[in-house]
Symmetry: C2
Subunit: 281 residues, 2 copies
Amino acid sequence: MTDWFANGKAVEHVPISDRGFQYGDGLFETIAIRNKEPRLWQFHMERLAAGCESLGISMPAETELATGLAHALQHSNASKDYCTAKIIVSAGTGLRGYGRTDAESPSILFGAFPSSPPPAETYRDGIKVVLCRTRLAVNSATAGLKTLNRLEQVLAQSEFSATGEFEGLTMDADGNIICGTMSNVFFVTDNEISTPPLDRCGVAGVMRRHIITTLLEQDLGVEIRSIQATELNNVDEVFLSNSQFGVVPVSGCMDTQWRVGAVTRRTMTIMADNGVAECQQ
Amino acid sequence: MTDWFANGKAVEHVPISDRGFQYGDGLFETIAIRNKEPRLWQFHMERLAAGCESLGISMPAETELATGLAHALQHSNASKDYCTAKIIVSAGTGLRGYGRTDAESPSILFGAFPSSPPPAETYRDGIKVVLCRTRLAVNSATAGLKTLNRLEQVLAQSEFSATGEFEGLTMDADGNIICGTMSNVFFVTDNEISTPPLDRCGVAGVMRRHIITTLLEQDLGVEIRSIQATELNNVDEVFLSNSQFGVVPVSGCMDTQWRVGAVTRRTMTIMADNGVAECQQ
């Protein structure tokens, strides 16, 4: 169960007229709470602000969001030491019709729910992914953003929810691998790390940014490069990133197998040293 | 104000956990009520069923939808003779995470709100449109469907909500004109009618289908053909279709002017004779 809060009170409902429900007109952030603190808070705030800017929604004051989140954690049944929080900022309740007026003020909701890290084997042996049939539409006006329009991820994830794979990789309409349904993907070829560009579709995860930034500080570059699904055979190692689980190796995708190799291991160690304790081995 | 109903009761809220709010995981139909009857009911039901099929949502029984809509109309403050109804079918409340389980049952909501036809000048003189900067992402998994993921339309319509044009035309990422933000578009060139394909993006309106079907019965074909924004100068006439207003001529788009010509007039007359009284001149 998720506990939800708004305006300092527990809530269970939103108005039907909320534009988040009517049109998916809003954004959200899913934040890892570790040792009572929101991890990568600044990155979450910056992505949310970028989303608000793109969508024309007033970005709430950061202090308002921090206070609201702290209140939610305090009153939620989830563990304050380790849980998952969610902030939803929708365009608010409005008149009928797609266009907004100036009258709406954003709806801000805070959720907290229990979570636990994947088991040690996940980090040690890696996980299996599938290649999803659902493609991501290209040149999306909201590429990179975490909006409430998430049908592509819903459809892609529904493909393997019954078979139980950890994650599915999604391609764009042109056959480029873009990201997982709930994660970003990194490839290692000849010891070089790359990750797909997200300027045409996909979600730019905060952990992806954290990895790129952190590796750069270690003089380890990450190339932003497209990769076709047909090239998966030529890749040496693959790993996924996500705000909750951090970094997880991928051991295979359908018929293709990858080793959990040295570059992935080194990345996991570096990230564990930089606030992502989950991937400590 | 819109009056909303669910399960035979007036409602104002949905659960925060409704997948419609969390992910835009659902569909809707906006239905014209004329003389106490839902117009183009069968087309609405068929599009909704196609959407449910694509999204993997159980299509509610048609009788359940008809009964729910009749109940909403009966208890709403909107005029039963002439108003707008909305049916929302979301994937229902579920566990956290994009993937659905088998446990969800759809949420079904019925709304009714007052509406009135555009003034006679709209049908006589035509209206102005703008060309929106917001592009539609191409090769969408939900092309043609009326899902609750409507951010592109929100962004496009927000471009001209302040300047007050009647409608905006949206292009796909490749510069093809696809549709209006809340309407479909038809072009007349050398007396031939065409309308853009909607297999890569856009919404396939029920009135568009009604026009194509009706004109075909009169031995007047409508060609499904892409048109680039750069070709707008070469077009003789333009008209829009929408479930509520029927057929409306377009007199211009920014610097380009079009006459309200004979083919548009004839189409309006034919449609007025086929249940779309609004466009009777």
